[in-house]
């Protein structure tokens, strides 16, 4: 009987391994196929290598140029993005809980929040550059305006969805408002806040890069703008790949943190 179960669980584990192997084969196969097709198309001049470059050229560019200079650009972008992320999220979390605390204020501000949330806020970047000059300050402010509302709306949604039974329980226990906030409202809103923070991190990178593309000489965005204006498509692709790797790493880090913090959600 036990042997039978052991054999069965081994079989299941084998099947699961096979399945994940298949999935990874498909994933890597698609990537390789895409790169090969790109390379062949460029070699045979089916696509114009001046505009589309080719994987081998991109690799060559990375080998030659990805050193200290690119690291400095990446660091500049990352510093602005993370700075904006921390500042913007903190402001949004505080503002969100204030709005939840005061329904009157929320009602009063509602049309403005809706308007500003619907507004394409990256388009404000030139204004901030004009006001604050070229550099980290204008980039950070642009990114904050982009992510503030994302986080704000998630905080409000989370803090408003609290189970009524739990609120009544706190009331019946005689919990003062500060205790209710600490023990119920805040932890209840954490999953929703996290969903907002994950988006905000990616959008913060986006906003900083857009802002860098508009003006300035430092940062990955500035590099993309410069390289594409001078028709260095291999460089453009190389930088874009770097951006993709950085944002993926950031998102993975957030997912890991979320899993650790919200372990109770996994059943």
């Amino acid at each position: 009987m036990n042997d039978h179960l052991l054999e069965l669980s081994k079989q299941r584990a084998r099947k699961a391994r096979q399945k994940s192997l298949t999935i990874w084969t498909i994933r890597i196969g698609l990537l390789v196929l895409g790169l090969v097709m790109w390379q062949v198309a460029a070699d045979r001049k089916i696509i114009d290598p001046v505009f589309f470059s080719s994987p081998s050229e991109i690799l060559e560019y990375m080998r030659q140029h990805f050193g200290d200079v690119m690291a400095k650009h990446a660091l500049a972008t990352l510093t602005s993005a993370l700075g904006a992320f921390v500042l913007g999220s903190a402001l949004a979390i505080v503002a969100g809980f204030l709005l939840v605390r005061s329904p009157l204020l929320e009602d009063a501000l509602d049309p403005y929040i809706t308007l500003l949330n619907a507004f394409p806020r990256v388009a404000l970047a030139p204004l901030f550059i004009a006001w604050l000059g070229i550099g980290a300050a204008s980039q950070i402010v642009t990114a904050i305006t982009v992510i503030f509302f994302i986080v704000l709306l998630n905080v409000v949604a989370g803090a408003k969805s609290i189970d009524r039974d739990l609120q009544l329980l706190m009331k019946s226990l005689g919990a003062p408002a500060s205790v209710q906030f600490r023990k119920l409202v805040l932890p209840w809103a954490v999953p929703s806040i996290f969903a907002g923070l994950k988006l905000a991190l990616v959008y913060s990178m986006l906003a900083v890069i857009v802002s860098e593309m508009m003006a300035g000489s430092k940062g990955l965005g500035a590099q993309v703008a410069y390289l594409s204006n001078t028709f260095h498509m291999d460089g453009v692709f190389a930088v874009l790949i770097l951006v993709a790797i950085i944002t993926t790493l950031l998102a993975t880090g957030m997912n890991w943190l979320e899993r650790r913090l919200l372990r109770w959600q996994q059943n």
Partner: protein
């Protein structure tokens, strides 16, 4: 409230112990309650309770039963201070009801557990809010978890438990407060028959070894009889008391064993007629 604690130190081995000599835990005097409901833009008054007069003595287990919408839960919520009382005729342990009084503990129909807290931390929650010392919280929580049969599940999250187990956590959390008056709103209403019996058994044990007063709202007549010293039967809306029945069953009780006794079934038949009458009157009135 101190009176309740001292007087009730008598062992609870027979229902006769609950004598009129005891002070009252709950006093309701000619109480009316109405809701203002908005209907098609106009306010309408819905009478929920009418001329309720009732005394629950300290150490007594009293059930409210009646057709749905009869106001029994409203009355319980008024006692708990969760629903503002509409006259001065309501006294709990001699004082006006107020949410958050430390001598009152409330238990809901649903478990109302905090999903991010483990079982033990959920049991501790109430004590934490009420400011009970940390070491004492741990001791009480562990003892109650064992008493409700959840030993070994201290570290589980509510999401990993069955509905019945969750309600046991809520039961432990309620008793851990050691309030002298427990107000329970259909706490076992959502459970299957088997689980319900287990929890009723545990509640009877917890009640009989303590000296608490329990007011228990239910729609299950068998449950009301098996658990209570008195069953209060409400009429349909507006709720009035149509029967105040003292259950002549001795304590300590075993809920499962009662099913085999003729006297239990006689009481059941008697009260069932009263309830059916209430139901019929409610239907005729509407």
């Amino acid at each position: 409230m101190n009176v309740v604690a001292t007087v009730a130190n008598v062992p609870r081995n027979a229902y006769q112990d609950v004598s009129s000599a005891r002070p009252s835990a709950v006093e309701v005097n000619d109480y009316n309650h109405a809701f203002h409901v908005e209907e098609a833009g106009a306010l309408r008054v819905v009478e929920a309770l009418r001329t309720i007069t009732l005394t629950v003595r300290a150490g007594e287990f009293v059930s409210f039963i009646g057709p749905s919408g009869c106001g029994k839960t409203t009355l319980l919520n008024v006692l708990a201070g969760l629903e503002p009382s509409q006259s001065a005729g309501v006294k709990v342990a001699g004082a006006a009801p107020r949410a958050g009084r430390s001598d009152i503990a409330y238990m809901f129909a649903r478990p109302a557990l905090f999903p991010w807290r483990r079982v033990i931390d959920n049991v501790i929650l109430g004590m934490e809010v009420r400011g009970i010392a940390a070491e004492q919280r741990q001791v009480r929580a562990r003892r109650l978890i064992e008493e409700v049969g959840l030993k070994g599940f201290e570290g589980a999250f509510p999401g990993q438990l069955s509905q019945g187990m969750r309600q046991r956590v809520a039961l432990a959390r309620t008793f851990a407060l050691e309030s002298s008056i427990l107000l329970m709103d259909e706490p076992f209403g959502a459970l299957d028959a088997q689980t319900k019996l287990t929890l009723e058994e545990q509640l009877v044990d917890l009640f009989e070894e303590s000296n608490k007063t329990i007011v228990f709202v239910t729609h299950d007549l068998g449950e009301a009889i098996a658990l209570s010293d008195r069953v209060i039967v409400f009429s349909g809306r507006p709720g009035t008391i149509i029967r105040d029945y003292t259950v002549p069953l001795p304590r300590p009780r075993t809920v499962a064993a009662l099913q085999g006794q003729k006297v239990y079934h006689d009481i059941y038949a008697d009260l069932w007629h009263a309830l059916a009458e209430a139901q019929r009157l409610a239907r005729d009135a509407s």
